[in-house]
Amino acid sequence: MAAEDMGKVSKRLRIAFAISSVIFLAVLAVSPVKDYLSEWRHYQNGYAQFAESRPDTKTLLADFHVGINQIWVPKMGVVDRCTTCHLGITQASLNDSSVPEPYRAHSYIPHHVEDWGCVVCHRGQGRATEVSEAHETTLAWERPILPISDIQASCGVCHRADIPETPRLNHGRELLTKFNCVGCHHLEGIERPAMLGPDLTNVGTKVSRAWIYKWLNEPRTLTDAQGNVTVDGVVTGNEPRMPKFNLDEKELRGLSAYLSSLQSHPPEPYKINPAVVAKWQKNPDTVQRGELRFRQMFCSDCHALAMVRAGTTELIGGDIGPELTKVGSKVKPDWLISWLRDPQAYLPNAIMPRYHWSDEDLYTVSQYLTTRLTDPDLLSDVPKLGPAPQDEIALGKRLFVEKGCSSCHVIEGVPVQKDFGPDLSGLGSKTVSELYFGNAKIPHTLVSYIEAKISDPHSVNPAARMPQYHLTQADLDDITTALLSMNGGAKRLEVADLTVPQKHPEFHPAGEFGKLYDRYKCSVCHRFNGYGGTLAPDLSYEGSRAQRQWIINFLKNPGTLRPTLTVRMPQFNMTDEEAGTIADYLKTAMQSPDVDLSSVSAKDFTPQMAALGKQLYEVKYQCQSCHTIGSAGGYVGPALTNVANWMTPAWIEAWLKNPQALDPQAIEPRRDFTPQEIQAMTAYLLTLKQARPAGASGGAR
């Protein structure tokens, strides 16, 4: 090769080398430039300028330095760099909606950001230093930021027992229980109850094939285009627990044939005394009398009826038992009478109490239910079905299992299916790529997936077996929050040791009281040591509160103590012996450790004390704002007209000292009464006796 050629080559080489050096330098320079132009630097500069514009610049910039900020909580695996941009998160003066994000302070919460980091509650990618990577779903990160409206799900990850601070989560969990979601799905922290849907072993003795067909096709519920739910033609927020399954004509015929053939142990027919029937049969007031007794027995505490109030029809009554507006077109009259007498003979787990019925009440009430609460058009759209042929019965029997009916309904001889639907106990920690969205046109996020699955299961999966529920947007949001809290045991967040477990205290007393407790289903409405319903007062300390004779009088003839309440204790027509057994049990077993019944006696009080107490009650403390005596006073607390016959003196004193010590839910505030004032007011209250025997208008609350 010639020398000039060599020179050419080396010149080219030099140029190539120069170019590559420049490229190399440029590439090297990119990194600092990128760093300099990074988003977080932009936000940090912004924060510094923003702080300058505030009067408390010094405080705002005390800990400020340019660079990545990080919260590191090793025991929870938290490495959160969110505070790199969210610089004012702990600055009290920036807790105001006029402060621009990302500088606004966190609104007040009980957990400090330094101790917990951010993603434990908010999700998102804590290690990221770019806005979109920290907040959104990326290829590498599938737990995006949770909307604040669902943030209570994060509380529920550790707080398995309900806490008052998370109303939305608690309500969502309540709805999961109410709608029997555990019938088909395994759900963390929600146990399978003894009975989900009714036992159908003898359903053929209760209702006709046509009614079953109608019910399966349209379980009383209709939803209009606006999403309003109507039950028996009345708009309501309370949907029946039975959802709508998408069944075709053949399936409806099969299932109705099979179910109506189930009559293996018909209930023992009860013959009402013919003299009673003869007396009432021709009486034009029979139905009216039945309606009156229906009201007097306070059936509406548990059962709703459609009624016209102020021009609009509403469902009035409780939702512990089924709504009864059209029950007369549903059940067979003979079945109804034996059910009313002894619900547990038909459904061993029924929560309806076993009343002592007189034949007169039984006849008139059942006449009222079967002739007045009817709808002649109820079954008009059901095709003529006729007696059930064998092939349809066989089809129905097969469908009962295939459709998952046996998840909620028991039939003797048919095995109960558990976990018919997918296990949802880890749903809240599922990543987007683990979810199947089908053709659904919804954002690909866990939250919208759950919402779509619940509001319309077929929109996500046309072959879904899940039935159709009709939820309001608020209920839908709350259920979504509750499902998002289920993360399969909290292990993934490494906070398992912080989990607050849920307690299931049960109260099943033995002996004579136990039998009555079971017969009258006390725990459906009352609470005993944390177990039972919340409709009626907690009876855990009833033995300390009430006098024995008052309890007996009340059980025999329940009255009302709170004038505004529409819910009242039903009248069970108890015997004296039964009432005595219950009173004795409550007096001995249901006592508060804070009330020493022997420490105070009514004899300790003088008329002078009572006069002072009256003065305090009426003038200084104005107790009449909330309590009624006679016919004057407020509606908030119970009426005190007969309190001397009702409460024990020791209870009154203890209550005045600290109401919340005896009932944490008590509305009455704890006051700063002196011991003399307490004594005086107790003395005054012990003068308040009703002239009539207490039982005649005793009191419920």
Binding site: I15, A16, I19, V22, I23, A26, V27, V30, K34, L37, Y43, G46, Q49, F50, S53, R54, P55, D96, S98, P100, E101, P102, Y103, S107, Y108, I109, V131, S132, H135, E136, P147, I148, S149, I151, Q152, P164, E165, P167, R168, R562, T564, L565, T566, K620, Y621, Q622, S625, C626, G633, G634, Y635, V636, Q660, Q665, I667, P669, R670, R671, D672
Partner: protein
């Protein structure tokens, strides 16, 4: 030579431009209810919901436990005790009455009761029943549901925008 320069310019340009090619993050839909810990229905307009933060939601809970009986026209148990009282207590959302009162005054009247503040004794003191935190939450809730809306006293310093 020109080609090389062109290539160089291209590479340099792409290095500058590439970082800007990132997917622009879509502007989040401004739904204040999605960003709220809880909500409260506006008594004057049932279709309207107030967004509440954590503290205001706790205030709402305490209000519906203790205060609703006299400071609302309908209660969870039915009729209200409000019409029964003289003087009539203000509704909790009565901004015209409550907005001019300072946070400190409201906290005091809840804690110490009406009598201690020169008002009617029918407002009991809650300082031994509720914690200081509960009472602050109540005041935050009162501010959140006020109609007409509550305006916090103006803070010194100009408003600032990040963009």
């Amino acid at each position: 030579m020109r080609k090389a320069a062109l290539a160089l310019a291209l590479v340099a340009a792409s290095l500058v431009v590439l970082p800007a090619c990132k997917r622009a993050s879509p502007a989040p839909k401004p739904n204040p209810l999605r960003q709220a810990y809880g909500t409260q229905q506006d008594w004057n307009n049932p279709g309207h919901l107030f967004p509440l933060d954590y503290q205001q939601t706790q205030g709402k809970r305490i209000f519906y436990e203790k205060c609703v009986w006299c400071h609302a026209d309908s209660t969870p148990a039915g009729p209200s005790n409000r019409s029964n009282l003289n003087p009539t207590p203000p509704l909790i959302n009565d901004g015209a009455t409550l907005n001019p009162l300072s946070d400190a005054y409201l906290e005091n009247v809840i804690t110490l009761g009406g009598a201690a503040m020169g008002k009617s004794a029918i407002m009991p003191p809650w300082g031994r029943t509720l914690t200081q935190e509960d009472i602050r939450a109540l005041v935050a809730y009162i501010r959140a549901v006020a109609q007409p809306p509550y305006q916090r006293p103006a803070q010194p310093g100009p408003r600032y925008s990040t963009r």
